[in-house]
């Protein structure tokens, strides 16, 4: 006796779906949101437009929190101060993706990963793209710098940074 015994369920194949053997009930939900960005992220986005990264400091634990927030999750106290940080950092991890957001295959892979930003507390960073590097060269620990869109094209979004590229020698 092996449990589960005689498990139930009827499989439908993709072929049956495609060839119309089954009736399909479709619905395209109208779901639209406009999230209030809140105090911390509003300022963060404004500064992105200016080509700067900004963080919040917590007086209790002395951490420089990035992305910025109005309260510190460790201390559960309001954060106290705005602090500009650099637009350079270090690759904490990365992936080279051949999938788009709907799991469709793409031939030109996306380099994506987490960058910890210089000037914020250790490990604090954001997810972003990488470019001007190769599959062979990119590595965890690589120093990188933001490449910004021209000021007139910035709109107050994470994508005001186009991507991060390897930091050149002697550059800050």
């Amino acid at each position: 006796m092996t449990k589960p015994e005689n498990p139930r369920g009827v499989e439908l194949s993709s072929k049956q779906m495609k060839e119309g053997d089954v009736i399909v009930n479709k619905w395209d939900p109208r779901v639209k949101y406009a999230w209030a960005t809140g105090e911390a992220i509003s300022r963060f986005l404004e500064e992105m437009k200016n080509g700067k990264l900004i963080a919040r400091k917590c007086d209790s634990c002395d951490r420089i929190l990035f992305p910025p927030r109005m309260f510190c999750e460790e201390c559960f106290k309001p954060t106290t101060e705005w602090v500009y940080i650099k637009d350079t950092g270090k690759i904490e991890t990365y992936s080279i993706s051949y999938l788009d957001k709907d799991a469709r295959r793409i031939t030109d892979p996306i380099f994506v990963g987490v960058v910890s930003i210089d000037g914020a507390s250790e490990k604090m960073g954001i997810m972003h793209y990488f470019d001007e590097t190769t599959k062979e060269d990119i590595h965890i620990g690589m120093p990188v710098k933001a490449v910004w869109k021209p000021p007139e094209e910035r709109e107050g979004a994470i994508t005001d940074i186009k991507y991060f590229r390897p930091l050149k020698e002697g550059e800050e």
Binding site: P7, S95, D102, P109
Partner: protein, 376 residues
């Protein structure tokens, strides 16, 4: 549990009904014997129904009863029976039916489209992320910190898909080699096609009863002996992904409750969450079943095979049986029950296992739920 497949004909309600019915039959109970019902199900975006717990409730046997849905992302698979335990342990219910359901195939163009909405709308979503990225970034960090080779990770996929050959519900059971995994299509480096569990439709159910009632139903009692659950901060880009500290916290909570001091020695069988092959290793370490970075070595040495010293995912796991998110309760919590009750048949691990652990994981790499059972 139902079979797990990319697409089942049954609706979510019908799958919930089939799984519930099977569990009631196995227990020798009828719905009228059930005092309360817990439903576990992950995003509404899969089934394509807002308030999906309300829609599923009659299929899950909840109509006219105290009925609740809990939802902690992928962690729901093991969190649901924990919530069921509260119903019984609080004295409110003698019999609690726990049902877990996921109908991922309803979501077009691909279930992964629903995962687009799990990200922060301002910081992440404009980058058009794919769910696999999470795993790729975490896997890369884990491999780099410990210097782990991909072939040692691929062994997990080979083992679990082979174990799944003995599971009657399995969607992706196969006899593969390490080379097959290493040569499979690269999706998001370092993640390849055979590193991944599939999207699935399926449901599973479990019945929890007070000791008094359970003794009347069976001689082979299996007790719930420890539970833990923990969530890490939302700010996933602010932490080191190489170790799941939140799983360790949940595990410590569960071990304390179960009075387990030396997990590697005292645990006889484990079902950690394995949506990707490296996740099994990551979670073995999070569950403190070995040291950090040691799980790939144990796997290479055969310790985690079904007949090894510490059998891990004898069910075939998500990699082999399928991944209908919350419904993987059937291959985590239900599997540990079947293993300890000696009902796992072809999948049975040898040497009369006495203590087992299962774990699920979810959200933005931040949720751990852990449940420990022991034989009566």
């Amino acid at each position: 549990m139902t079979i797990f497949r990319r697409r089942l004909q049954e609706t979510g309600k019908e799958m919930s009904y089939e799984a519930s019915k099977m569990a009631l039959e196995e227990a020798g109970l009828e719905l009228k014997d059930v005092d309360s019902v817990v439903l576990g199900s992950a995003p509404d975006a899969f089934d394509g129904i807002h308030l999906k717990g309300e829609n599923l409730l009659d299929g899950a046997g909840g109509a006219g009863k105290p009925y609740l849905r809990v939802f902690v992302g992928g962690g729901t698979a093991v969190f649901s029976p924990i919530a069921g335990w509260w119903h019984v342990a609080s004295g409110l219910a003698d019999v609690c039916l726990v049902v877990a359901e996921e109908k991922m195939s309803s979501c077009f163009p691909h279930p992964q489209s629903a995962f687009g909405h799990i990200w922060d709308p301002i910081l992440d979503r404009p980058l058009k992320p794919n769910l696999v990225w999470i795993f790729a970034m975490e896997m890369n960090r884990y491999m780099t910190v410990h210097g782990i080779k991909k072939e040692d990770i691929a062994r997990v996929a080979v083992k679990n898909k082979r174990n799944a050959l003995d599971h009657p519900c399995a969607q992706l059971a196969a006899d593969l080699t390490i080379e097959d995994v290493l040569n499979s299509e690269v999706l998001a480096w370092p993640v390849q096609m055979l590193d991944i569990s599939p999207p699935s439709d399926g449901a599973s159910a479990m019945i929890l009863a007070s000791e008094e009632v359970a003794k009347k139903l069976t001689d082979d009692l299996v007790y719930l002996s420890g539970a833990g659950w923990c969530i890490d901060s939302t700010m996933w880009t602010d932490r080191d992904l190489y170790f799941p500290e939140y799983v360790a916290r949940a595990a410590k909570m569960a071990y304390k409750m179960a009075k387990i001091e030396n997990p590697p020695k005292e645990i006889d069988v484990a079902e950690p969450y394995d949506p990707f092959d490296y996740k099994e290793l990551h979670h073995m370490e999070g569950l403190l079943l070995c040291d950090k970075g040691e799980a790939p070595i144990l796997t290479r040495e055969g310790v985690t095979e079904r007949d090894g010293d510490l059998p891990v995912c004898p069910s075939g796991g998500l990699l082999g049986v399928g991944n209908p998110i919350a419904a993987t309760m059937g291959i985590k919590a239900c599997e540990i029950y079947w293993q300890l009750a000696g009902k796992a048949g072809k999948r049975q691990v040898p040497n009369d296992p006495q203590v087992g652990i299962c774990q699920a994981w979810g959200d933005l790499m931040q949720y751990g739920s852990v449940l420990i059972m022991r034989r009566g």
